[in-house]
């Protein structure tokens, strides 16, 4: 399963080797300043994924890769999606990250805490 961590001022999505192959992307790094917010969203898996550009989609089992839908570009890496986290981005190649992680509530809290400290420092 993928994980989302914050190192310094950067959000890092780490994937296993198999996930990297299926999603056709290596580690994703996004500066915290480009993150609008993060939300725990267990129901997001039932949303339309759109067109693969590129990625892997086995409906109901696994979605990994970059998908384009309704003018937005999203990177997905979820299985059933019950532990999915949605991260909205701005001024990036991608508009959204939808990632399934072990601890979605902890992940969202750590992204917010990291963003809060960087906002205060600036």
């Amino acid at each position: 399963m993928a994980s989302i961590n914050v190192h310094d001022d950067t959000l890092v999505v780490e994937q296993s080797t198999i996930e990297m192959i299926l999603s056709l992307r290596k580690t994703i790094r996004v500066p915290l300043a480009n993150i609008i917010g993060a939300t725990v969203d267990p129901g997001v898996g039932s949303e339309r994924k759109g067109i693969r550009v590129p990625g892997t989609h086995i409906p109901g089992f696994y979605v990994a890769g970059t998908f384009r839908h309704e003018d937005s570009k999203t990177f997905w890496n979820i299985r059933r999606g019950t532990n999915a986290v949605v991260v909205s981005l701005t001024d990036c190649d991608l508009d959204q990250l939808i990632i399934e992680v072990d601890d979605p509530h902890g992940t969202v809290a750590s992204i917010n805490a990291a963003k809060a400290t960087t906002t205060i420092e600036r």
Binding site: G37, T39, D41, H69, V108, A113, A116
Partner: protein
């Protein structure tokens, strides 16, 4: 095909605030929000960025209107996982300043929560439903 956005973000935020007032921040999921407002997930994330983004706008709206339930909404969000969210924090600060105008903010937040407790859980003297097998005749 992408549908054009035809909703008023402030009206949606107010609807979501009502959901939060009913159930509490953490109990309201994105599925509940899409169901209650009729706005799709894609539009929600595009316009508000996150669930916290919706509530930040709702808090701002309630503060501007000096809404009667501003203290209750502020207290609920303060006690939730969203209290640290960078979009919400400035709105909480602003809301507290407005609540403070009418008197001690601590007192008002506490009062709002107590009033909520009274309305949601009417006092009962009959405790037999809690201990069904523990009845003693005196």
């Amino acid at each position: 095909m992408g549908r054009p956005r035809t909703f008023d973000p402030e009206a949606v935020a107010t609807d979501v605030a009502n959901l939060v007032l009913e159930r509490g921040y953490d109990a309201v999921g994105i599925d509940d929000i899409t169901r209650a407002t009729g706005v799709g997930r894609g539009s929600l994330y595009r316009v508000f960025g996150s669930k916290a983004g919706v509530i930040a706008l709702a808090l701002a709206g309630a503060a501007e209107r000096d809404d009667a339930r501003l203290a209750e909404l502020t207290a609920l969000v303060l006690a939730s996982s969203a209290a640290l969210d960078p979009l919400i924090r400035p709105e909480l600060t602003r809301g507290l300043a407005i609540i403070g105008r009418a008197g001690d903010p601590e007192l008002q937040l506490g009062r709002a929560l107590l009033e909520r407790h009274r309305q949601l859980a009417p006092p009962t003297r009959d405790r037999r439903h809690i201990y069904p097998n523990h009845t003693t005749d005196i």
